[in-house]
Symmetry: C2
Subunit: 425 residues, 2 copies
Amino acid sequence: MRVLLIGAGGVGTAITRIAARRGFFERMVVADYDESRAAAAVAAVTTEGTAATAATAAEGAGAGRQPEDRFAAARIDASDEAAVIELLARERCDVLLNATDPRFVMPLFRAALAAGAHYLDMAMSLSRPHPDRPYEECGVKLGEEQFALAADWEKADRLALVGIGVEPGLSDVFARYAADELFDTIEEIGVRDGANLTVDGYDFAPSFSIWTTIEECLNPPVVFEKDRGWFTTPPFSEAEVFDFPEGIGPVECVNVEHEEVLLIPRWVNADRVTFKYGLGADFINTLQVLHQVGLDRTEPVTVPGAGGPVEVSPRDVVAACLPDPAALGDRMRGKTCAGTWVKGTRDGRPREVYLYHVVDNEWSMREYGSQAVVWQTAVNPVVALELIATGAWAGKGVLGPEAFDPCPYLALLAEYDSPWGMRED
Amino acid sequence: MRVLLIGAGGVGTAITRIAARRGFFERMVVADYDESRAAAAVAAVTTEGTAATAATAAEGAGAGRQPEDRFAAARIDASDEAAVIELLARERCDVLLNATDPRFVMPLFRAALAAGAHYLDMAMSLSRPHPDRPYEECGVKLGEEQFALAADWEKADRLALVGIGVEPGLSDVFARYAADELFDTIEEIGVRDGANLTVDGYDFAPSFSIWTTIEECLNPPVVFEKDRGWFTTPPFSEAEVFDFPEGIGPVECVNVEHEEVLLIPRWVNADRVTFKYGLGADFINTLQVLHQVGLDRTEPVTVPGAGGPVEVSPRDVVAACLPDPAALGDRMRGKTCAGTWVKGTRDGRPREVYLYHVVDNEWSMREYGSQAVVWQTAVNPVVALELIATGAWAGKGVLGPEAFDPCPYLALLAEYDSPWGMRED
């Protein structure tokens, strides 16, 4: 397998570090708009990373192969489809792994199809709110533009595996696993994400991009019900306190727009599907205040600058006031939990379980030099690539993670030093 | 009396509208950095304002004199002391009324002294926090730079009447009135400010400058106690719910840095003096979030602009996201209350009163075209000028409103269609 990884930010860099310990692929080209970021990611797995990776790789499928032979850096503009097609061809890549932000999903998705490559991403094409009833009806749904091209992918006999990070991704695998192995009927599948991460020296320092968090949290949240289909609610609706495992404890969660709600009902039979994010009461309050004051807006406002009035986006100013989350790993403490809560019946009796995956920041920093949230996202597409490389997962068209057999996935994930858990409620 | 009014913002403009109905002065020159603002303020009292002002002025001391003869507009840079001295001399003004923001207090205060004019302002020279113990000890206090020049004013036989808006100003007059007329001993004087103003069409729209509000509310609040002197506390300390009169009702109030705490103890004997602002729980929360995210900062941050990175002050961006409070009068509803709560004894028995002044926005918009908060501030320096013009108030040096006899002041205020009230608790 020859992989073109596009995006050498936090998640892309963590992908190279995780992949370097595995032998299933022949080559990974790391491409970024900023070539120095790509080069830095490659250098980390071929120099200071070598000792650790060589030792671990010896136990993997590619035993004996030096990781430094396999990685290369390149420059790419992810919005330039022709350039991406050309790079896929030149490097003879069978698969494009997209680790950029969601604005670049469609050009990369189309480029892979045109080049005859498989495609993986961790976030799907963006939604647009309903023009008149944004908090009641869906407008353009997350992933809708991608599913519109499903027939073309089938015809080309190529696989677009969409939403294969941790959430969406592992959360969808959990949903399918529950349906296959744990339940006869399912009343609700609720993805629940929570953490107890803190950052030393900051009153307020989100562990992920505030720009993206605002986008995610202030978009109308989407909910699926079997008899209503997909519909939306106001932001921060249906607040509940969810008790997270492994010492994280209770966190206030609210509905947030997320891919799982669009993916799970396509392959798994459930009366209701939701996604709730454990933002916590303080963070929700912060986002609400930013929204009330209008600081979440992206349209420019005019403010005094040193040489006269300048136009800036308020949301960019919010981001500029906060520390860069990718650089906070050393100051972070705590754990992050992703998981899927399922309620239904088994053998005629009510059942409720929470399938989950916890990463301790101290462990991910020590083992991989990546902060917990970033590492937890990155490990999943590497596992999926390995399943595709070995043939354990095969398909064509535009498919979510829940379209595949969850068992080999969960088994392989545990092999990556990354066990998952289940709590019977 | 010939007056130089500097500053034709909301308060300056309201001053011209109030003064136009009174006959005690011969001339009022309205000067602003933006001459068009000064010209607009003058035009309003000499054209569409004429009908109302002429009718009312006929009942005043200047009956028969047309207000349009008395007003003129000029351009001035309030930070340019030499230019202000020159304008005072050219227009032969006896008094400078400062209606600019507090950054210009010192140049205008020094210019008036140098030109031999009396001086009035509504906010005093700015404080600076204690370098090491900002929330325990005072650094440079509000007005400290002005009081440092008191001997020069006395020597020049000129009066600097400082802090003569509504708060400080009328609130200080109330304190002196309570001490003279209502109490034998005073345990605490607490200025309390609250409103029930709302703005149609906005979730969040402060009725006063957000820039100044942040400055006021995030500075360490100052408290006076007879046996400790002046000291500071953390922002938003000593929250209490105060019940405001005339239908406003209970509002959450917190300690805020304000001039009365520095002025009242100089002339009035009280064990404790505080200022609490009825910001309400929501507004306090908004300010706390802005502070946590770092959006209250004035030091520039770097953000993307249309032509590359630009530097902007986050606090300016917050202000740019919100509507201009001076332009909200038509959409505002409700009342604003300023007042002084006093606790002590009279004839050996405990006594507690609240002396207050309420303005209904609907009334101030109809009568003067000025929103309530702005009008309530503006009426007080006009009353004070009239007392100085008639000789009812006379003095030299740097004096606060509580240095004078409160009785003629309160009587004249009522003549301005602006009654004050007293609640015996």
